[in-house]
């Protein structure tokens, strides 16, 4: 452990207050990403993936949002000890964010050059002209044809894939330590999605950046990530190396997800569906959140919440299930 992890988060909790009710959207999330690593954060809609990302970026400054970390470190620096200005100077240069929907994430009334160049001007203090030159370089890098000519264009003049590439360009412009990509390809076609994922992966390799990739697509996670963390109802229920996790899931939820995917190669007549629906974040059952839908649930699952613990078997595998050991054993036998 010569180098500290790029991102280290311990016990992140986010609670929203809306309509007089508390919505605990994230209830204790730990994350660690090493340099050059891609961590995929999997989970279905509403499980708290985006909130986690925003909390890490420090974007949840709106009234009604209550964010608490036990520890938050970026490349060894303590984020909790920093002042607002210091944090702001990290954003965009040391850690960056790629949004899901490029059209809504790009400001419609500012030119691409302006929005991209802003990074250089804010963080590097470059002149307008220098910033422009650097922006053109960046656009070239992410494969926007005729970048120099299009630098003055506005977001609506680009296609969906190009916009997403521009977002990626912004994210890598200042060679950050950490890129958080929140479903960066969900709005795109598969053929374009493949291009973007490829692009992010290439830049990661070249720059040695750590990537936190948020997705709900098991396929996407399988394609590009090294580590996978699975979220359910505001908590991480399982994490581990991607191959291992897909092969031998240690949490029934992960297992059920994997089983529910239609397989191109074997169009079985019946998919193994998970009964019921995810709980509403405002009203999570006591004990294990997944218990009501779980076919392995036993009495203890109904009242005692299993903590995320490192597993005996496997390397660096964690799961939050009372039955994970037997699951792994079952898978082995």
């Amino acid at each position: 452990m010569s180098e500290p992890p790029v991102l280290e988060i311990r016990d992140l909790r986010v609670t929203f207050t809306a309509h007089g009710r508390e919505i605990p959207a994230v209830r204790g999330v730990d994350l660690t990403i090493e340099r050059g690593q891609t961590l995929a954060l999997l989970g279905e809609s509403g499980s708290g993936k985006s909130v986690t990302a925003k909390a890490v970026m420090g974007l949840l400054d709106q009234p009604g949002a209550h964010v608490r970390f036990e520890a938050a470190r970026l490349g060894g620096r303590d984020l909790l000890a920093m002042g607002a200005d210091e944090l702001r100077s990290l954003r965009g240069s040391e850690m960056t964010l790629v949004f899901q929907d490029a059209l809504s994430a790009l400001n419609p009334v500012l030119s691409i050059g302006d929005q991209l160049g802003e990074l250089y001007r804010v963080h590097r203090g470059l002149s307008r002209k220098e910033a422009r030159a650097r922006s053109i370089e960046m656009l070239d890098l992410v494969g926007i044809p005729a970048a120099a000519r299009r630098i003055g264009d506005y977001p609506h003049q680009f296609s969906g894939g190009m916009r997403q590439r521009i977002l990626v360009a912004m994210a890598v412009a200042l060679e950050p330590d950490l890129i958080i990509a929140d479903e960066p390809t969900t709005a795109l076609d598969v053929t374009v999605q493949a291009q973007i994922l490829e692009l992010i992966d290439r830049l990661r390799r070249e720059l040695g950046t750590a990537v936190l990739l948020i997705t709900h697509d098991l396929g996407v996670a399988a394609e590009v990530s090294d580590q996978v963390a699975v979220m359910y109802a505001g908590r991480i229920v399982e994490r581990g190396e991607v191959g291992e996790l897909y092969d031998r899931p240690a949490h029934p939820y992960t297992a059920a997800l994997l089983a529910a995917i239609p397989d191109l190669d074997s169009p079985a007549s019946e998919l193994r569906a998970i009964p019921g629906a995810p709980p509403s974040p405002a009203d999570v059952p006591p004990g294990c959140s997944f218990a009501p839908r779980c076919d392995r649930a036993s009495e203890i699952c109904g009242h005692t919440r299993p903590p995320l613990t490192i597993l005996r078997t496997g390397s660096d595998r964690y799961a939050a299930c009372h039955h994970s050991e037997e699951m792994l054993d079952g898978a082995l036998t």
Partner: protein
């Protein structure tokens, strides 16, 4: 270009509509325009002669086409009462109305935008509530009441401002400009009062909306300083709907100007309308409406252009 062309066509259509509506409304007024000119006890013979003089003996359709024809040549007809061209009557008044409404608009915008920003960036805080409440209250005020109040307090009690008129008689040169501004303060203030609320509230809502957009989050994620997030990223987007509202509010502004000018004896078109109604001076009434409608149309065109400048989605396609 196509965009500008369409807007122009639309403007012309609006103008035609205004001309037509007012033409027929005006003709439907009860009472006899001839009465207002001559002695009520005139002979029938004289009455007929006057009707013919004014072209009122023609069928409505003919009068209408005639009017349109004259209008195309920039001729608004002759005032029944004053025996001078309507254009002369109105051109004397127009500058004052333009000064009044224009200055009210500028002041409203200059005050409204920062106030709206202030309220939006402190949404739900006490300052926001104060600004909102003030805005709503100002919007709810009855123009004559405000006028009387301002006139009495600032004009009579404190004696800071003259209570009527547009410029001092003796003032010349720079003093005249000063005096003009001095006279402008109260009527302009009354108009600003009723306008401001709308601007502030729209500004606030649209800005709050813009501040919740992803592009604002992205700007924050890029480390853009908070001030620039608001003023550069969010505000320009929020200005778009505000511009539209500004265009829509022009009609209200003109209505407010009629009342304000009436109360402050401000020599603008609004007052001319009020007087012309009393005198059944068709041509003046009609001319005034056409002029006001044209002003609204032109202002709307300007709004559209402003919109285009603010919104590249319009500009670049």
């Amino acid at each position: 270009m196509r965009f500008v062309g369409l807007r122009l066509a639309r403007g012309l259509l609006t103008l035609w509509f205004a001309v037509t509506v007012t033409f027929f409304l005006v003709r439907l007024l009860p009472g006899d325009p001839v009465l207002a000119v001559a002695d009520p006890n005139m002979t029938e013979e004289l009455r007929q002669k006057l009707l013919a003089d004014f072209g009122l003996d023609q069928p409505l359709g003919v009068q209408y086409l005639d009017y349109l024809g004259q209008l195309l040549q920039g001729n608004l007809g002759m005032s029944f009462r004053q025996s001078i061209p309507v254009t002369t009557v109105l051109m004397e008044r127009l500058p004052w109305t333009l000064i009044l409404t224009g200055s009210a608009m500028v002041v409203t915008i200059v005050l409204g935008i920062p106030l709206g920003v202030l309220a939006a960036t402190r949404a739900k805080g006490w300052l926001d509530r104060v600004i909102q409440l003030t805005g709503v209250t100002a919007q709810s005020l009855f123009v004559p009441s405000v006028g009387i109040f301002l006139m009495y307090v600032l004009g009579v009690w404190l004696g800071w401002f003259p209570i009527g008129g547009a410029v001092d008689l003796d003032a010349t040169g720079p003093a005249a400009t000063l005096s003009m501004l001095h006279h402008l303060v109260l009527p302009c203030l009354s108009l600003v009062f009723i306008q401001l609320g709308g601007y502030v509230l729209t500004m606030r809502t649209t800005l709050i909306e813009a501040l919740g957009e992803d592009y604002v989050s992205l700007a924050k994620a890029k480390g853009v300083p908070p001030g620039a997030v608001v003023w550069k990223h969010a505000l320009r987007n929020a200005l778009l709907p505000t511009t539209t509202i500004a265009g829509l509010q022009l009609g209200t502004l003109v209505g407010g100007a009629v009342l304000t000018e009436t109360i402050y004896a401000y020599p603008g078109i609004g007052r001319a309308i009020y007087e012309a109604v009393g005198q059944l001076d068709f041509p003046v009434l009609q001319g005034a409406f056409v002029l006001l409608a044209a002003a609204v149309v032109v202002a709307n065109l300007i709004t559209d252009v402003a919109y285009g400048i603010l919104d590249p989605r319009v500009r670049t396609s």
